[in-house]
Amino acid sequence: MKKKLPMTKKLPMNRRTALTALFAGASAPLLAACSSGITSLDGDGSGGDTGSSSGGLTIGTANFTENQILGYLYAGVLKAAGIKTTVKPNLGSREIIVPALKGGDIDLLPEYQGSLLLYLDKNAKDTEAGAMQNALAAVLPASLEVLPYAIAEDRDSFAVTRETAEKYGLKTLADLTKANGKLVFGAAAEMQKRVVGVVGLKDVYGVEFKEFKALDSSGPLVKGALKKGDVDVANVFTTDVDVAANKWVVLEDPKSLVPAQHIVPLIAARKADGKVRKALARLGNVLTTSELTELNRLVDQDKKDPDRVADAWLKKNGLVSA
């Protein structure tokens, strides 16, 4: 069990949750192998070409589907702008990739506002997208920069089945008070002590659950339990394909309890020239949350390759020439 220590994760990063954590011991040598690979392929990773993308960009991604798709989308639009790119998918969790970015082994990373901010500053309080962007700029070292955030967002949300929603008349998180003391809440263990979880739901909305069940975040356990009725309220991600497939009702969050998690490019400042900024901004303004969900579905359910899925979507939306 001690092997799991290095793999503590946050929010959307823990998509593969405890399963990944348990196999962390097995994958550690693999990750080590990956990072040495990056260094050798990156060539001039030491920062020789300041503020220019002419030397090409290495894009890293975390170890879950959506982040890989985003990495390939970034690569696609940059390539179309005439920039040489290399994608290094599946590098691991934020605890591994962000240091790799700081060290110059990779140059660009698809990130999520809220999770990244909490990773950089444990006590961050901002939950609104614009304020978070400023907070991020303030806590990042000078060598790193976040570019404007995308429309698409992969946020923690709280869902109930349609039957439960109808039975108690649930539309927003505030409505959960109508069923105070009656509902069982299933989520990852951290939600029991977090503001985005039991604590915040009580303080901000006055919600009290009958019981908390520590399962996983939007993983097979919590979704299986919601499907079977073993839990009534479940923590799911907004880009999870199973939400729509099961017609679950995602409860609205009028008081912005859950921090915004818009997708945001985290880039080495020395590579962020005008061409890169323009290409990534254009992608961010076109890709929506539901489209990203659909791309996730194509990879997770239809078992298509993430690079092909990304390429096809870019062509369809005119972001790269067909």
């Binding site: 069990m1 001690k2 799991k4 220590l5 793999m7 503590t8 405890a18 399963l19 954590a21 348990l22 299933g186 990852a188 263990a189 951290e190 029991q192 002590k193 069940k213 520590a214 399962l215 097979p220 356990l221 299986g224 339990a225 079977k228 073993d230 839990v231």
Partner: protein
């Protein structure tokens, strides 16, 4: 590092940490409950099977290979599978822990019985013992050291793996490991892991004591 050990020591020794439903005492009892029940059920399944194939010599190939296959089953996978099929209950925990313990006990019981010298069995039959008498009075006593080793191994494995209960929302010492990881509380993780390790070693020593008691008076070579 020193700071961490200091924090760990104060975590383990603070009074409030031991009391209440989330306290160490209660978690310890839960952990023992999962482990003991699973090991007992596993023994009840595995001992008769091991004895039967050891005694008759039939089905050994199938049983030993099935047991090896069982050993290769990933426990987390099994828990998830049973959870998805059966829903939120303790069944996934118990089924996977029993599945973990059964192969070890079967193979050790069988190996112990198979190692009994055929000449001794022939001699037992020669002096007029019936089949079941040979089993209970000759084969089992001679196989006992290996059988006990199997049960000891299974118990230690089950105690170490019962942390899995926390993976599907239940208690036990695994709660500290899972919650600590989720909350980035390294001290809690280490505390939980240390308690599991101590419990496993203690159980092994206790069963070792039982084993010595059972085999009292035998020459050292037959323990």
């Amino acid at each position: 590092m020193l700071e961490l050990l200091k924090n760990l020591a104060s975590w383990l020794t603070s009074g409030p940490q031991w009391s209440g439903n989330a306290g160490i005492a209660h978690r310890l009892v839960e952990h023992l409950e999962y482990s003991l029940l699973a090991t007992l059920v596993a023994a009840a399944i595995a001992l008769p099977i091991g004895m039967l194939i050891g005694h008759t010599g039939r089905g050994a190939f199938v049983a030993v290979n099935l047991a090896s296959f069982g050993r290769a089953l990933p426990t987390v996978g099994l828990v998830t599978l049973v959870f998805l099929a059966g829903g939120l209950s303790k069944w996934p925990v118990y089924i996977s822990l029993v599945a973990l313990a059964v192969p070890v006990i079967i193979t050790n019981t069988y190996a112990g019985m198979a190692a009994v010298d055929p000449d001794i069995k022939d001699a037992a039959k020669g002096v007029g013992l019936r089949g079941h008498q040979v089993l209970w009075q000759v084969e089992l006593p001679l196989a006992l050291p290996l059988i006990m080793t199997g049960i000891r191994l299974a118990t230690v494995q089950v105690i170490a793996t019962a942390t899995i209960a926390a993976y599907v929302s239940f208690g036990g010492l695994g709660r500290y490991v899972y919650d600590g990881l989720a909350q980035r509380d390294l001290v809690q993780v280490l505390g939980g892991a240390a308690l599991v390790a101590v419990l496993a070693v203690a159980a092994d020593l206790a069963l070792g004591g039982v084993q010595r008691l059972l085999l009292r008076g035998r020459p050292a070579s037959a323990r």
